[in-house]
């Protein structure tokens, strides 16, 4: 860093602190929102993405896991699927978003009824307790324990019925709601869905061409839709994030503008204050490019320090925010750090651009005026 740039920057500690603080706040907001987006994105698609299901069969018009408006009769399905050689195993699945209660505490959950004997569509990972629910039993997502204090052995009420918690699983967190798993026939009974399922979930033979199967199946089964795991996971993720992303994006843009404004104004003020000194440098033989470098270095160093401070803030406050508000699911990726770093560089360059333009107009002969 050039000597004059360093001295100009660090001689005004308060102004530098304000500039760094402004950039840091901006970086923190951008980084935090990006991490929040990543965290949500990671959570809301995880179950569908990781569950051992290749194809989801649903009523036509069903777009994602959470809409769950699908209603499929289970009668005769075994015969229909048995003749399709690309299907290895299948199982009906009942899915219904609802409110559950532990005492007076209300919880948003998604009730999943699955066949524990087949295991398809069941809990992703058992963290504690029984691996599968028995009659009158439920396996909850551990986020319900973290968020509402539901423990193994507790009773919760859902779908008009009381269930005893026998296990904790992970991977069923949709941020706003969590999956609870019960036996298929009990879910059907509780929801008055005897003889019906929300989905049929299929495991395919390794050689099956999934896209080809989807096309074939939808051709022979009008009114029914088949969706690959990837498409279903993406649709599920988009259902939640599509509503949130524009809001996040607007705040990110605002944060960028705030950071830019604070950095720009402080750099501009610092430059204008030293205009005579820049004129002196010009008079004694320094080129414009040298002066531009002086200002740009100050702007970039301010941006860099603001970026570092913002990252420290993000890393320090994210766990605190997560503890205070469980919905703050933050996932920090190095790719996002790189993007925010690049944004900070852009912010610094723009912040330095206006003062640089001002320098170009300095008349070096002005320094002869007393």
């Amino acid at each position: 860093m050039l000597l004059i740039a360093r001295r100009n920057l660090f001689s005004e500690r308060i102004r530098l602190s304000i500039a760094i603080g402004g950039v840091a706040l901006s970086v923190f907001l951008i980084m935090f929102l990006l991490s929040l987006y990543r965290g949500w994105s990671d959570k809301v698609g995880a179950f569908v993405e990781e569950v051992d299901v290749d194809i989801w069969i649903a009523r036509e018009g069903t777009a994602d896991f959470l809409s769950s408006a699908s209603f499929l009769p289970t009668g005769g399905v075994d015969e229909n699927f048995a003749v399709l050689p690309s299907i290895e195993r299948w199982s009906p699945l009942v899915v219904r978003p609802m409110s559950a209660k532990k005492g007076e505490t209300e919880m948003d959950v998604t009730l999943v009824g699955y066949d524990p004997d087949l295991g398809i569509g069941g809990p992703l990972r058992i963290e504690a307790g029984d691996p599968a629910p028995g009659p009158g039993e439920v396996i909850i997502d551990k986020v319900l324990t973290d968020r509402y204090g539901v423990q193994i052995g507790d009773m919760i009420r859902a779908a008009g019925k009381d269930w005893r918690v026998v296990g904790q699983a992970s991977g069923g967190d949709f941020v706003a709601a969590q999956i609870i798993f019960v036996r298929l026939e009990e879910a059907q009974e509780a929801l008055s869905m005897e003889g019906f399922a929300t989905y049929f979930v299929l495991q395919m033979v390794p050689t099956a061409d999934l896209d080809e199967f989807v096309t074939y199946f939808e051709g022979v089964q009008p009114g029914i839709t088949a969706i690959t795991r990837e498409d279903f996971a993406e649709a599920t993720r988009n259902r939640i994030l599509d509503d949130v992303v524009p809001v996040l994006l607007a705040i990110v843009v605002l944060a960028f503008i705030v950071g830019l404004a604070v950095a720009g104004l402080t750099i501009y003020t610092a430059t204008v204050e030293k205009l005579r000194e820049y004129g002196i440098l010009k008079a004694v033989g320094f080129k414009n490019t040298y002066l531009y470098r002086l200002v740009m270095e100050q702007s970039l160093v301010t941006g860099l320090l603001g970026f570092l401070a913002g990252m420290v803030l993000t890393l320090a406050l994210s766990p605190v925010a997560r503890d205070l508000v469980p919905q703050f699911v933050v996932l920090i990726r190095w790719q996002d750090i790189a993007v925010v770093g690049a944004s900070t560089v852009l912010m610094s360059v723009i912040a330095g651009y206006v003062p640089v333009r001002r320098l170009a107009t300095i008349d070096p002969t002005s320094v002869f005026r007393a």
């Binding site: 050039l2 000597l3 004059i4 001295r7 100009n8 001689s11 005579r276 000194e277 002196i280 440098l281 010009k282 008079a283 004694v284 033989g285 320094f286 080129k287 040298y290 070096p364 002969t365 320094v367 002869f368 007393a370």
Partner: protein, 271 residues
Amino acid sequence: MHGVTKVFGAGEAAVIALDNVDFEARAGEVVVVMGPSGAGKTTFLTIAGALLRPTSGSVEIAGIDVSSLKERDLPPVRREKVGFIFQSFNLLESLSCLENVLIVMTADGATTRGVTNRAKELLDMLGLSHRLKLLPKHLSGGEKQRVAIGRALANNPDLILADEPTANLDSKRGREVMQFLRQIAFEMNKAVVIVSHDQRSREVAHRVQWLEDGVFRADVVTVRDPVCSRIVEVLGAPEATFADRSFHFCSDGCREAFEAGPETYADAVTN
């Protein structure tokens, strides 16, 4: 300078600041340029220092025809061939004395031992060896001007241009600075051009040139205004008489001040 003319503005609003001026300063010589306010002294200095281009004519510094150089080629000439000394010192406030000198030697502040030693030698020669690390705000006016002289000499230029170098100094410090400038011309073989109103500058000058209305005049008789000490041309200046002596003034204001108490001022000058 050969046939240098500088016109500001155009048409009826055009002002001729310098009119076909010829000027030369040689190595080892101190030339003082005097003249009334608005005579074109600053324009002369900025053109001589390659900061301003003449409308016509040519300017040569240390054998380089700067009037034919492109704009982007002028800064290196200013840095290497010319040393500027300003009326208001114009030091960089965030840099120490030593750094103010070093900065013009190294541009990027990357100093070597040799460069630092030369800067220290210069400041030592100017009596500032005990002030190297101080910021300008901790220096007296005389010390600031000596740092500025050190900066002007940093790149060993051929030409030193000083604009009213004693204007912000008291009598003693002003005389000191003038002596330094004379020493620089003599001992370092530089051409020193001083634009000044200060009568003391005459004491160190090999030549004094009177600039008025954009031209150097040779037939000028000058005296010192007893009230403000400015050098004024006798012809056309406000005049007063006291004790059988004539006094000339830069303005009616000074004349009136003199007439209000001539005994206060009369002994201050010898006309």
